[in-house]
């Protein structure tokens, strides 16, 4: 079987779809459990469905960001594998890094003729072994983390523990945001800073000044993002 034929073969589509099915089934069982619990604690349908709708709208924008990497991944490792790996754990750049690191062991270079069946096999194992790390750590740690948090609440002042948790949220998003804007600023590029600034101000306007329009709140993040990225593109692009 030719290389291109193999990496896009029906068998590989089938084998790759199991993980995507796992992802979808998992989301489905968690959603069902949470909706049942929302009804059980007496939340109004309007509230939790509004929240769900907002999450769906919010997820649309960032779902666009890997599309360009996805197309280059398809060219290198075939559509079924690219499809599977962008639907599971590991950012696109992580998958690309693992592909080139593991295929290098058999002197396969991504994007050249040296990347053949053997290099592809190594890449498949590389991505699987890498993903296994996160899955295993979660398997062993998440339920323990939840116990630790429960114990912290019991042992310390709940007000402080709540601040501790909100501190991790602030810290995490400060990390993600600053990672995007700081380095380009040092190189005199302000496009990303502009995108972030406009987006943040838009978010503030929608959530503060337009707070009474409930439907507007559901769209808030999507609108803020669009305002930020389009302004930055128009000004610095």
């Amino acid at each position: 079987m030719e290389f291109q034929e193999l990496i896009n073969s029906p068998g590989l589509w089938l084998a790759s779809s199991v993980m995507v099915i796992a992802v979808v089934i998992q989301a489905f069982v968690f959603l069902r459990a949470a909706l049942a619990e929302a009804r059980k604690v007496g939340m109004s349908r309007e509230r939790y469905i509004g929240g769900l709708r907002s999450a769906v709208i919010t997820a649309i924008g960032p779902s666009f960001s890997p599309v360009i990497v996805l197309l280059s991944l398809i060219a290198v490792i075939g559509a079924p594998t690219a499809w599977m790996r962008l639907n599971d754990i590991g950012a696109a750049r992580t998958e690309l890094a693992m592909v080139s690191l593991s295929s290098a062991l058999v002197h396969g270079e991504v994007g050249t003729a040296s990347f053949g069946v053997e290099a592809f096999t190594y890449a498949l194992w590389g991505m699987a072994l890498n993903n296994m790390g996160w899955i295993l750590v979660s398997l062993f740690c998440v339920h323990r983390m939840s116990k630790i948090v429960e114990r912290l609440y019991a042992k310390y002042n709940p007000a402080w523990i709540r601040l501790l948790m909100s501190g991790t949220i602030i810290g995490l998003f400060a990390y993600l945001l600053s990672g995007q804007i700081t380095s380009p600023m040092l190189h005199g590029q302000y496009g990303k800073l502009c995108a972030g600034f406009v987006s943040a101000v838009t978010m503030l306007i929608i959530t503060r000044l337009l707070a009474k329009y409930q439907r507007m709140q559901e769209l808030a993040l999507g609108l803020a993002m669009l305002a930020g990225m389009l302004t930055a593109q128009a000004t610095f692009g």
């Binding site: 992802v23 619990e37 929240g51 699987a128 899955i135 991790t168 600053s178 930020g228």
Partner: protein
């Protein structure tokens, strides 16, 4: 507080059972393409090479395997963690979806209702991202060239715009912590770039700095209250 906690704890147990079961399924599914190549085409790396590949992965991402699930736990919660460490996209899709679901439903993170809404938000965001990745896989190469260049180029600004909007949403609850958090993070990022610090260390240090900012404000507020009383 206690009654609220007990009802939440039962829900938490359900989530943990579901989480462990689905993680085990995902663990197997993760290897199926590699095993398929072995069974149907007889191609597999040598045993020692599989170890070598694992070694390369562990050397590059091993710290992230451990650090990320722990650093993100406070934000993702139990169910969010289980879903994210299978479906990926923690910072760019799952967290914003959870935050917006909580905001629109008017619940606080860290409460039982907050956990419910985070689960609803994270789970429903998975359907969206899977649908888009699937759509782009099949039609991306045909559709992309027809979109306006201006729009495609603006994709490079998606992440800063997204993170800034989410940051505004979480930071406006406490303006001092919000301003302090991003200023400290940018200073630390600058120092990290100068010192060429590894990514995992920056994640840990900056997340911890967010907690430190909150702690300082907490202690400051308490001491101020103390002096007022005195």
């Amino acid at each position: 507080m206690h009654a609220e906690f007990n009802t939440g704890s039962e829900f938490n147990k359900t989530l943990i059972t579901l989480g462990i079961a689905t993680l085990c399924f995902a663990l197997i599914a993760n290897f199926i393409p590699a095993i398929y190549l072995f069974v149907f085409h007889g191609i597999i790396p040598k045993g020692e090479d599989i170890l070598k590949i694992w070694g390369v992965a562990a050397a590059t991402y091993g710290v992230s395997w451990v650090v990320q699930p722990i650093a993100y736990y406070g934000v993702l919660g139990t169910s969010g963690s289980y879903i994210t460490w299978v479906a990926g996209s923690a910072g760019d899709i799952r967290l914003p979806a959870a935050a917006m679901a909580q905001k629109v439903a008017g619940v606080e993170s860290g409460t039982h209702e907050g956990d419910i809404m985070a689960t609803i938000g994270v789970a429903s965001s998975v359907f969206v991202s899977v649908a888009f990745v699937t759509l782009f896989t099949f039609i991306g190469a045909n559709v992309l060239p027809h979109l306006p260049q201006f729009f495609i180029k603006s994709f490079s600004f998606i992440l800063p715009a997204l993170f800034a909007a989410v940051y505004m949403e979480v930071a406006r609850k406490d303006i001092r912590a919000g301003v302090g958090g991003i200023v400290v993070a940018m200073i630390l990022t600058y120092i990290g770039i100068q010192l060429k610090a590894p990514g995992w260390a920056m994640t840990l240090i900056i997340v911890a700095s967010g907690v430190a900012v909150n702690r300082i404000l907490y202690v400051y507020d308490r001491s101020k209250k103390g002096t007022e009383k005195a």
